[in-house]
Symmetry: C2
Subunit: 108 residues, 2 copies
Amino acid sequence: MEDMESGVFRALADPTRRQILQDLRAGELSAGEIASAFPVSGPSISRHLTVLKSAGLVQERREGNRIYYSLVGERLATSVGNFLSVVCPEQAVMRHKRKKVPAPGVDR
Amino acid sequence: MEDMESGVFRALADPTRRQILQDLRAGELSAGEIASAFPVSGPSISRHLTVLKSAGLVQERREGNRIYYSLVGERLATSVGNFLSVVCPEQAVMRHKRKKVPAPGVDR
DNA sequence: AAATTATCTAGATATATGACTAAATAGCTA
DNA sequence: TAGCTATTTAGTCATATATCTAGATAATTT
């Protein structure tokens, strides 16, 4: 039992996980591709990915042998942005209108 | 040795600390006032305040007997907002122009 | 089916975090 | 100075986190 935001912020508290999120900006990456960008073991990255997944920040998609991870961008903007605008309302998060994409992929 | 942002996010990872930040929106509060709003001991709140202070999110000001804490609002917007706009650039943090206040308090 | 590749789960260990109680420090008041 | 209030520091304990190695699971290839 935990509030939504704690999970997100705790996920963001680790530099490796923040870097993973930034890496994923370029598009989806397999677990192995992600892991190879860091000096830590595969299993450790796997755990980091689990944390990010539990926080709802990334989603996975299996393709044959591999599992591809990708950002759930709105998730981050929603929780972090909401909090930010509550604590310092003079800085508002403005969501740019985007052409409603016709469902980029089935949601899990 | 730690990067700036980790401190901020780790500080935000705890619900008590996030609530403290929200409480401080109304204006500065003494340590005791802050503590009385929570079901945890004074010393625990003191530690939380130290964490927030180390992250640069709050500042303190002594007045006689008591120590008043207040938000360092830009700090939060700067680090969190920067990260947010890097990871999900389609959500930009817009800073509202504000009449440059003539130094609200010495920046200690 | 056996071997290979990709990724995860389990178990162990070290460090970090959050809470508490008790005691120390800082400033005020009599 | 003694006593009082506000807050922090110290010491302890339980839980959480991060990492590793070894082994398990899943899908592909031969």
